[in-house]
Symmetry: C2
Subunit: 117 residues, 2 copies
DNA sequence: CCAAACTAGATAGCAACGCCAACTAGCTGT
DNA sequence: ACAGCTAGTTGGCGTTGCTATCTAGTTTGG
């Protein structure tokens, strides 16, 4: 079985990206590795870059090109104030939703050991 | 602001439906109200019935028509053994995913009060 | 008595978005 | 020279929740 259903990322992935960016500016390829390290599975380029492009169009992130002395050029992203607000609102709402879904889903696993608290 | 982003239900809605069905057999219209009561927002017919149809096609739920003495006929759904397995596997995987996403998202809110544990 | 509102379910078409695959391009190591 | 990694981009696909609309029975109100 796969580690995650692709659909589960929908709507959350932009929030996860913005969250990583609160640590400081970062480029796409590194972002992808940080998300993997966070246990969220592999986020391939074809998934990540379109998300970053959307965030940029919405003004949630700002970009800066770096042309390092060695290696390919990197596109560094950093949070804008608008991005911070979007993250704050979105994260709060998602966490509330996930909390309720978690509560409901847990009742299924607990059905067999009724701990009368 | 809305209570939830529509996208957040993707992939989880079938699990939520199956979870409600662990309480016993239930018909669609009532399912929709139970999900709302659980704090997950309104799940309209156009969303719910296709989900139930998929679950039936996959053999995760079995149906029974009731023709009550009054009111429209109801289609009662109940979990099959296959549905229970699907729920167990899916719920575990989603809970793990949500746990990791929650951890990451919380770091953004905690960024400003560095509690050095 | 007819209309509105509610219960109960079904379906068509739309749009968002993550996925796969393929591509450019620079650098490194053998 | 060529394979492989880093870095980013694009096109088209499939899933699936949403809106809107429809059928049909029941109840309530003017």
């Amino acid at each position: 079985m796969e580690v995650r259903d692709p659909q589960w990322l929908r709507g959350v992935l932009p929030l996860l990206v913005l969250t990583v960016l609160t640590r400081g500016e970062c480029y796409g390829y590194d972002l992808s590795r940080q998300l993997e390290t966070a246990g969220l599975g592999t986020i391939k380029g074809g998934t990540l870059y379109p998300v970053l492009a959307r965030l940029e169009r919405e003004g949630s992130v700002a970009i800066r090109w770096s042309e390092p002395t060695s290696g390919p050029a990197r596109k560094y992203y950093r949070l804008t104030p608008a991005g911070k607000e979007q993250l704050a609102a979105g994260a709060t709402a998602w966490l509330a939703f996930a909390e309720r879904a978690t509560q409901l889903l847990r009742t299924a696993s607990e059905e067999h050991h009724d701990a009368t608290t």
